[in-house]
Symmetry: C2
Subunit: 174 residues, 2 copies
DNA sequence: ATAGTGATGACAGTGGCTGACATCATGCGT
DNA sequence: ACGCATGATGTCAGCCACTGTCATCACTAT
């Protein structure tokens, strides 16, 4: 996305929507037909991530516990993040964490992801509150692992980091 | 806060800042000197909540595990929510969940609360990532418990609901 | 060729938010 | 009592995100 480049170069706030639009030869008005607002540009892949989580939950064996279903979802979600994407993810993450407004949006996306996952768990027979807790926990593990994956230089896969974080969480709750 | 009343009556988006200001005999400009933006009005008590969490963590016995420190924090935080506040909390909660923008802000507050709690845990010797996970978990438990407490008619205290949710979470992770 | 459809442009308007400067009240030292 | 500093408020101008409305234009099906 061309917008990310501008956000990186001059900062999110100092970038006007008109600039973004013109940088791709369009009008400000047209920008708002494609994106709900100035922030939304950075969250385009959201549907894919959500879909991955859903696929993971649905693919889990029938005997799986809620946390195991979530674990399966984490594994599938990690597949979307090949190592080549790391630099791009890093840049995007830097922009987002540098701006409270963008951080808000990120958190909203996380929350809606968790809500959707909770729905999938419920559809597989998990009780309401257990579903919410498991989903919320899974999304937390994901985002903690993701942050760390981004920060690392080594060639560990996101899936590996996820497993590590999940183990640490289990140890904490014990 | 008079703003809440307006938000309840006519909705958040249909309420202009000028209206809010005039309803208390002030100017729009003055409103923005007291609150960073239109949403912030609803999150005034945030500092107190945060303080309660911090007090809880610090009051936990030296031998406490990270999760036990968080449990202590939850207990202290619950004290701030006497039963009389329930109707008000309910109203506020309804307004917030009805508006994505307000929900975003709420999530941001939660995140910053979690960050602060993680800091307090670190100050008590908990390793970085464990601190983050424990804090995040604690805030999740709080908000799940809070939602349920608000929804209930019965006279259960928030602390009771918190304990129940925490137990369920531990069972999930087992 | 024509009519319908979807994407874009053009334009005006609302409202959140900010910077700059003026005004005013309050309290304090002399 | 006077003058003065300080902090809160009012006023005004302006930016920009975002929206509604209507016109335009390319493309497609019939």
């Amino acid at each position: 996305m061309a917008a990310l480049e501008l956000y990186v170069r001059q900062g999110f706030e100092k970038t006007t929507v008109e600039e973004i639009a013109q940088s791709v030869g369009l009008t400000e008005r047209t920008f708002f037909r494609h994106f709900a607002d100035k922030r939304e540009v950075l969250f385009d892949g959201q549907d894919m991530l959500q879909q991955a989580f859903l696929d993971g939950v649905r693919a889990a064996p029938p005997s799986a516990s809620p946390l195991e279903m979530v674990t399966a979802a984490l594994a599938v979600a990690a597949e979307s993040f090949a190592d080549e994407r790391r630099p791009w993810s890093r840049q995007r993450h830097a922009v987002i964490t540098a701006n409270p407004g963008l951080l808000e949006r990120e958190l909203l996306k996380r929350a809606s992801l968790a809500a959707v996952v909770a729905g999938a768990l419920r559809a597989r027979g998990v009780a309401e509150r257990a579903a919410v807790l498991a989903a919320e926990t899974g999304v937390t593990v994901f985002s903690v692992a993701f942050s760390q994956w981004i920060a690392e230089d080594e060639q560990r896969s996101l899936a590996e980091v996820e497993r590590e974080v999940l183990e640490e969480l289990k140890a904490l709750a014990a």
